[in-house]
Amino acid sequence: MVVLTPFPHALFALDLSRPGAPVKWRFVPEADGGAEGLACCDTINAGPVIADGKVYFNSLDGHTIALDVATGTMVWNVRTASLDRGETLTGAPLIADGKIFIGNSGDDFGARGWIAALDAQSGHELWRRFSTGPDDNVGIGPGFQPFYAHDHGQNLGAASWPPSGWQHGGGSVSGTILFDPVLHLLFHGTGHPAPWNPDQHDGDNKWTSGLFARDPEDGMAKWFDQIDPHDLFALGSAEPGLAIDRDWHGAARHLLIHPDPDGYVYVLDRANGQVLSAAPFTTVNATRGVDLATGELRRDSNRASRFGTMTRDVCPGWPGATAAHSAPSADGRLLFIPVSRLCMDMEARNVSYIEGTAFVGANVRAKSPADGLRGALVAWDIEAAKPVWTVPEPFPLAGGVLALGGVVFYGTLDGWFKAVDAESGRTLWQFHAASGIIGDPIAYRGPDGRPYVAVLAGLGGSFGMVAKSSIDKRDATAANGLANALQDLPEPSDPSGTLYAFGLP
């Protein structure tokens, strides 16, 4: 097992075959401390990937590194992101087809989003496609066939922005990158447009806050679906969701199930980008639903941002209704969504783009919703587009969900690691860790043949950083306003990270 710690990184290889799982080797790359100042949501990392005897990972300061998995020696190390432009790497690389696909983070620093493919052997960059800008930058060519009319046009990645706004327009590819071997396509989401102040990014802001399907060979776009044009509240659509092939109202289809931060579960046809269904899985008041015919998100004008005043009680508030990985049930019928039910007040302020500084332009004050329940685990019936059950949680769920057999595992910010029944949501078992949990639980079969569930406890990320000593919760806007909503987040009893592995019966 390989464990990657947050920045400044250290990579540990644990030998699971021996009792106590001692460290086999460790790797500490050289680090550029400046990257800490550029990590929007704490110095997190989605983890390393192992394939073909190598372990690949991204470092926050913009390097993609390949190591020999057996010895921990470095195979190659390439600089893929530029800190000067505000780019950092927090996502996990994807390995497919002998290529490594990586995407950047840095929306909040005005970095343009991109996805790049590297040669797995050499680290040599094969192609790089941006989320904003003229068509050749974005990888839009004759093969680009978006489903909806409003995505057709020349150079929309520049034309749907104020002059030169796209040059620091965000749209990062910080989430998971999906590879679909069936259709031979890559799917990835794009982050929110920069800056947060919607007034400074007039227009639809293509191609931010949407979903891309790309050809893994040359990165050319196949289709794009903009979930949230002119994203008012900096929610983005960084996580593409889950590729599931199943029946959809009687016909077999290649689906992409995408629970979006805007509070809707989108069901898309993976082949062409058509939105088949969009229904809210949590309290949503900023929008009034999705027009399936045009793919348009209907906004509530009462929650529109207006110059010089505050937009109050926007639900869902930053960082969105769900920001972590959902998991499908084994039969593909249900989706278990970790939900943040926070709302927010947001006030747009004028901001200048100054290289290397945060490009935000908003005061944000997150709030508990009216009913006080800030989180939930929602079991979502995909086809019926409605929740089956909901487990309310006092804190937003920041970590991913693991569905294993009839049991759903998830961790909470206040340190509980829970297992609930997939059919009813009944809590089966819980464990209190020394720190809050924001990591995804994983399951593996140990060398002893027993199944294990493991989770890394350690508070961090957008939510978890509120508990850090460098945040002063008396400022309601601290940690992008989450300090206000999470005043009562307990400080972890053990501030360091702990890896817990539980044997399953």
Binding site: D108, I354, F359, D472, R474, A476, T477
Partner: protein
């Protein structure tokens, strides 16, 4: 007795007058001199430029300079990382524990030259005088005793008690690291 009282009142008034002065233009030699900060080798503490006391330490005590600093704080994206003093990507400023010390010259150096772990250098973004204004203001965010000259709330979202009202206070423990 009366005379002494009068003198005292006069002195107080003069001090007030300094506090309220709106000096909008410093002579270039004074500006150059303001750049001469001698920091300790560890980058913490040191001597402020001689010209600062000569000017009456306006950046720490003058209401106008402090409020100019507050404007710069908003204008130059300080809020993006430090929020309104509570911290975000960057550490909180209002708790009164600065990693590089509470002296205004350390704060000045942090802003001018940047610091490891992500604090960018603002040398070429702000002028020396602006950096002093900003440093004076930043110090105000985390001082333990409220300054009457400190700026008060902005006409924007309420996020925290204003600088002139909300000293860090002794109830805040030093960060546990």
């Amino acid at each position: 007795m009366t005379r002494r009282l009068l003198i005292l009142a006069g002195l107080l008034a003069l001090a007030a007058c300094k506090r309220e002065q709106r000096e909008v233009r410093l002579d270039p030699p004074a500006l150059d001199a303001l750049d001469q900060v001698a920091l300790m080798p560890n980058g913490i503490g040191g001597a402020p430029p001689d010209v600062l006391p000569a000017l009456g330490r306006p950046y720490e005590t003058n209401a106008y300079q402090l409020s100019q600093g507050k404007r710069l704080y908003g204008w130059f994206n300080c809020t993006g990382c430090h929020a309104n003093g509570g911290g975000n990507v960057g550490p909180a400023l209002m708790e009164g524990w600065w990693r590089y010390g509470p002296d205004v010259q350390s704060i000045f150096a942090s802003i001018r030259d940047g610091r490891p772990h992500g604090m960018p250098a603002f040398k070429d973004k702000l002028t020396t005088e602006q950096i002093w204004q900003l440093a004076g203001y930043v110090q105000t965010i985390g001082t333990y005793a409220a300054k009457t000259a400190a700026p008060t709330r902005n006409d924007e979202m309420q996020s925290r008690p204003s600088e002139s009202r909300g000293p860090a206070g002794a109830d805040i423990a030093p960060p546990s690291r």
